[in-house]
C-alpha cells in the first residue's frame, strides 16, 4: 500500500475534522440556520435542540451531572480566560491568590500574568523532571487568600498527565475553586469532573476532531456553585456568562465529536497508543543517545511521543523530514527564539530542549505512515549526526560540559 505525503503527526496542534462531524454540521449552515435564542418559531427551536443535545453529550463525556453546566465559547483560550478572570473578579473580596504551574498553556499563564498586573498574587509551581506537579506543593502553596487553582489535565508538548484527582481533593478540602485546562486530555485520558473534583474545565473542539473556533467551559453548579463575572457584555446568553449568538453549526460539530469519543473512545485511544508504541520501539531500538521527555504510561497522552535526539538540532531535523508534520521545542522554531519553556521548566538541558521533536499521533494515522516516519527519522538522525561536531566529540569521549562554550 502506498502512502500519501505529507504525513500529519501534529495532532496536539490541531486534529483533522472527522467527516462524520462535518456531516452533522452541514444542515445548520443552510436549511436549519435559526438562532438558538429565537424562542418563538421553529427555526429557533431546531437550533436550540441541537445545541442542548450537544451540551448533554459533552457533559456526559466529561462526567458532568448536567448539560446546564456547559457554557459555549469560541475555543479553549476564551474558556481559560473566562474561567480565570471570571473567578478572580467575582471572588476578589474573598481573596487575591491564584496557584498554577510553569508548564501550563500560555492562555493560562498569560491570563495569570495580566491578573498579577491588576494586583493579584500568582504562584507558579515547579514541575519535576517528568513534567508533573507535586500535589503537596499545591497544599503548601494554599493560603487563606487563595481563590483558584489552575492545573492542566495533559500537557500539549510532553503529554504528561497531571494528578487531577489528588489536586481536586485538596481543592475541596481547602475550599478553593479548581480549574482544569483539559483541552489535550478529554477523550484521551481518564477525565471525570465529578470523580476528580474539578469545578471548571476548558475544552476545545478542534483538538478532538471537531471544528476550529468553538469550545466550552464546564462550570460546576453544585457543591460548590461556581460563579463568574462575564468577560463579554451583551445579550446575556449562556446564563449570563457568555453573551453572543451561539455558533450553532460548530456546536453541533462539537456535540458530534463528543458523541464519537463516547462511543469509540476506547478503540480510538488504543489505536493512537499502539502506533505511538510502534514508533517509540523503532526509534529507541535503532538510535543511541535519545531521550523520552515526559512521563511513562499511564500518565502519558496515548498519542504523544516527545523525544530529544542528542547532537541534532530540532529545526534541522524537521527540515530533514519535511514531508512529515511534527513540531519541535527548538528555539529556532519559536517566534521568541527561546527553547521550549515546558522542557526548561522540567530541567531538561537547553541542548536537549533544542533537540526535541514532538510526534502527535491521532485517529487518522496508519501503521504504514508510522513505519515510514520511523525509517525516515532513523536515517536522518544518522545523517545529521554524521555532520554534527558534538556527536563526533561525544564519540571521542569528550565531555561536552567540560568545554568552555561561548554563548552568543
Amino acid at each position: 500500500m502506498s502512502i500519501k505525503l505529507p504525513i500529519y503527526l501534529d495532532n496536539h496542534a490541531t486534529t483533522p475534522m472527522d467527516p462524520r462531524v462535518l456531516q452533522a454540521m452541514l444542515p445548520f449552515f443552510t436549511e436549519k440556520f435559526g438562532n438558538a435564542a429565537s424562542r418563538n418559531h421553529s427555526f429557533g427551536w431546531e437550533a436550540e435542540e441541537v445545541v442542548e443535545d450537544a451540551r448533554d453529550t459533552l457533559a456526559q463525556l466529561i462526567g458532568a451531572k448536567s448539560g446546564k453546566e456547559i457554557i459555549w465559547t469560541s475555543g479553549a483560550t476564551e474558556s481559560d480566560n473566562l474561567a480565570i478572570k471570571g473567578v478572580a473578579e467575582f471572588y476578589r473580596d474573598k481573596g487575591d491568590h491564584i496557584i498554577t504551574c510553569k508548564t501550563e498553556h500560555k492562555a493560562v499563564l498569560d491570563t495569570c500574568k495580566r491578573l498579577e498586573r491588576q494586583g493579584f498574587r500568582v504562584t507558579y509551581l515547579d514541575v519535576d523532571q517528568r513534567g508533573r506537579v507535586d500535589p503537596d506543593d499545591i497544599k503548601r502553596a494554599i493560603d487563606d487568600k487563595t481563590i483558584l487553582i489552575s492545573i492542566m489535565l495533559c500537557n500539549n508538548e510532553i503529554g504528561t498527565v497531571q494528578p487531577i484527582a489528588e489536586i481536586g481533593k485538596i481543592a475541596k478540602e481547602r475550599g478553593v475553586i479548581f480549574h482544569c485546562d483539559s483541552v489535550q486530555g478529554v477523550g484521551r485520558v481518564p477525565f471525570d469532573v465529578e470523580k476528580m473534583g474539578v469545578d471548571l474545565a476548558s475544552i476545545s473542539a478542534h483538538k478532538m476532531y471537531g471544528p476550529k473556533g468553538v469550545g466550552a467551559l464546564y462550570v460546576r453548579r453544585n457543591k460548590p456553585r461556581v460563579r463568574l463575572v462575564a468577560q463579554m457584555d451583551g445579550g446575556g446568553h449562556e446564563r449570563g456568562m457568555r453573551s453572543g449568538t451561539l455558533n450553532v453549526p460548530s456546536i453541533a460539530g462539537l456535540g458530534k465529536a463528543a458523541d464519537i469519543l463516547l462511543k469509540e473512545g476506547e478503540q480510538d485511544r488504543a489505536h493512537s497508543f499502539n502506533l505511538r508504541q510502534r514508533l517509540r520501539a523503532k526509534l529507541f531500538s535503532e538510535l543511541d543517545e535519545i531521550y523520552l521527555n515526559g512521563m511513562d504510561d499511564p500518565w502519558r497522552h496515548p498519542g504523544n511521543l516527545n523525544v530529544s535526539f542528542s547532537f541534532v538540532e530540532g529545526e534541522a531535523m524537521m527540515m530533514a523530514i519535511k514531508e512529515v508534520a511534527v513540531s519541535s521545542g527548538s528555539a529556532c522554531t519559536s517566534a521568541s527564539l527561546e527553547p521550549s519553556y515546558v522542557l526548561r521548566a522540567m530541567g531538561v538541558g537547553e541542548e536537549l530542549a533544542h533537540s526535541s521533536i514532538r510526534f502527535g499521533i491521532g485517529r487518522f494515522n496508519t501503521e504504514e505512515e508510522i513505519d515510514y516516519v520511523g525509517a525516515r527519522v532513523v536515517e536522518q538522525v544518522k545523517r545529521l549526526r554524521d555532520m554534527s561536531p558534538l556527536y563526533e566529540m561525544h564519540r571521542e569521549g569528550i565531555d561536552l560540559k567540560s568545554i568552555h562554550w561561548q554563548a552568543h
Binding site: E313, G314, A316, M319, A331, E350, H354, L400, W405
Partner: protein, 135 residues
C-alpha cells in the same frame, strides 16, 4: 519557515562535511557557538604555509538548516583562496547569497566567526612552529 532554494541545496547536499587532523600544524580549527544556544560550528582549513592558500576546508555543524548551509557555503568560498582573502569574508556576503531572513542572520555571523577562528588557530600554530625552529 520557508527556506530559499540555496539553503535547501546546501542543507541537502552539504559541501565539505568532514574532519581534518587537528594536530597537523598546517590545519587551523575553529569551534564556535554553544550547544545551549542550539548551534555549534566546527570549521577546519588546511593551508599551504608557503603560499598562504587554503587547500582544503571541512566543517561539521550542529544547528538549524540555515546554520548548516552557512557553514557549507563558507567552506566552499574559502577553498582555493588565500587566508587574507578568507579574512575578508563577511557575514553579509553569506546572508545575501543564501537569502537568509533576519531571524537567521546569527547563523551567518557564526560562520564568519568560525572562519576567523580557524585562521587564528592556524596562525597561532605557525607562530609556535617558528618559535620552535628559532630555539
Amino acid at each position: 519557515m520557508a527556506y530559499s532554494d540555496k539553503v535547501i541545496d546546501h542543507y541537502e547536499n552539504p559541501r565539505n562535511v568532514g574532519t581534518l587532523d587537528k594536530e597537523d600544524p598546517n590545519v587551523g580549527t575553529g569551534l564556535v557557538g554553544a550547544p545551549a544556544c542550539g548551534d555549534v560550528m566546527r570549521l577546519q582549513l588546511r593551508v599551504n604555509p608557503e603560499t598562504g592558500v587554503i587547500e582544503d576546508a571541512k566543517f561539521k555543524t550542529f544547528g538549524c538548516g540555515s546554520a548548516i548551509a552557512s557553514s557549507s557555503l563558507a567552506t566552499e568560498w574559502i577553498k582555493g583562496r588565500t587566508i587574507d582573502e578568507a579574512m575578508a569574508l563577511t557575514n553579509t556576503d553569506i546572508v545575501q547569497e543564501l537569502n537568509l531572513p533576519p531571524v537567521k542572520i546569527h547563523c551567518s555571523v557564526l560562520a564568519e566567526d568560525a572562519v576567523k577562528s580557524a585562521i587564528a588557530d592556524f596562525r597561532r600554530k605557525q607562530g609556535e612552529k617558528r618559535a620552535e625552529q628559532e630555539k
